[in-house]
Amino acid sequence: MLAFNRPLMIIALAGALAACSDSNDNDDDVTPTPEPVSYSFTLQVSNLTAGQPFSPIAVIAHTEGTLWKVGDPATTALERMAEGGDNSVLLQFGSAIANVSSEAPVAPGAETTLTITTDSIEELKLSLSTMMVNTNDGFTGLNAMDVSSLAVDQTLTHFTFAYDAGTESNSEASGTIPGPADSGEGFNEIRDDVNVIAMHPGVVGQQDGLTSSVLSSEHKFDNPLAKVVITRTQ
């Protein structure tokens, strides 16, 4: 509650000071510039998988809605990210007030830190999404984590689960997986799977009896997929 009121108070105070100087012709008066209020968060993301690089990680600050919902069909923006690792449309999420993407994919065992800054913290949510690129349409992330009551220097640690976008069948076939295991196709607008989002059943791989698979045992994964430490820094 205190956090909600603070920006309003500062704006009100700045307004009062500005009004004050307007009513006074004294040249010595310096019109105070309203102090810009901004809120910054870092997200340290660790890839905990054995052999699934993460596509560039999308982080979106918003106040309502979710990037996906289990049981619902994927948006085309999510499908584009989950099938091909392209987060450019997802970053433009409807209620987004800020967004950021990591510049590069994040290798298994690697970490990256993203920073996102907003000018409001009221009702603020952070969402994060990335594709496991050695899958057909597998992704992981965080959906609308409330950070509106996070104090400066306070942290939240989350472990993420694997989801299946349900937009492309998990054939694991040559030419269908965009990651280094195959260098195949990414996004394709045809939906030839269940067309609802669910938890990911995992990959099978050639050694496990899916003879047409381009994947091997090192591409297998189990939950959780990523560790995300959110810190409010400002």
């Binding site: 998988t49 298994p108 065992g109």
Partner: protein
């Protein structure tokens, strides 16, 4: 006179508070159907004195535990750090779907709880808890633990006697007595050399040949692999 008595009383109260220790009842359950835990290590420690960190390389002490179940180097490290240590509460292996119980009294500075034990049969898999903040409030708490891969040995899934020493490839033992032999070996190197979530055993359906000495219907698992119940008194 009154004032100084009061001061002494306050100082005594503060001192006894700072020395007060947490008393914990701990119960660890092996939730798996087909994996044994090697001797378990439980430490209460300060924030920096962790046993392992995900997405970081394993220490030699952790590698020694994860590849062969030998706790000695981790115990030395924990003792040197001033951690409160409980080693081997189950007095040997903790069989699938069984529990062990112990009690732990922690020093005031040791606010975090960590646990490790090797998973058998795996090459370098371990069950782990890293730096769980011990609650100040009395009560019973449940925590679920995941299986990690130390990233120090390729998961060839071959049972090789004497392979528990760090750097010797192979699974040192399959205590359930249900593994095979004569496999040709799965991937020989671990491309992710950081501590990560274990991708799971693969196994195969031929215990006398095939690529793995493990069984694909017995030796697999999904997270979580253990449940810790903590009672703070």
């Amino acid at each position: 006179m009154k004032a100084s008595t009061f001061t002494v009383a306050v100082i005594t109260a503060l001192a006894s508070q700072s020395l007060s220790a947490a008393e914990l009842d701990l119960k660890l359950t092996n939730l798996t159907q087909g994996l044994h835990f090697t001797p378990i290590l439980i430490t209460a420690h300060a924030s920096d004195d962790t046993l392992f960190e995900v997405a970081m390389p394993a220490t030699t002490a952790l590698q020694t535990m994860a590849e062969g179940g030998n706790l000695a180097p981790l115990i030395d490290q924990a003792n040197a750090a001033g951690s409160d240590v409980i080693a081997n509460p189950a007095e040997g292996l903790l069989a699938p779907s069984t529990s062990t119980m112990t009690t732990l009294t922690t020093a005031e500075a040791n606010e975090y709880l960590s646990i490790t034990a090797m998973l058998l049969p795996t090459n370098d898999g371990f069950v782990g808890l890293n730096s769980w903040k011990i609650p100040k409030e009395a009560g019973t708490y449940s925590v679920y633990l995941n299986a990690y891969d130390a990233g120090t040995e390729g998961n060839n899934e071959l049972v090789v006697e004497g392979s528990g020493a760090p750097g010797t490839p192979g699974i040192p033992a399959a205590p359930g007595g249900n593994a095979g032999s004569g496999g040709t070996g799965l991937s020989s190197s671990d491309s992710n050399t950081m501590i990560h979530i274990h991708p799971g055993n693969l196994g195969d359906d031929d215990l006398a040949a095939g690529s793995s000495d493990l069984s694909n219907t017995v030796h697999r698992w999904l997270n979580p692999v253990a449940k810790l119940t903590v009672t703070v008194k």
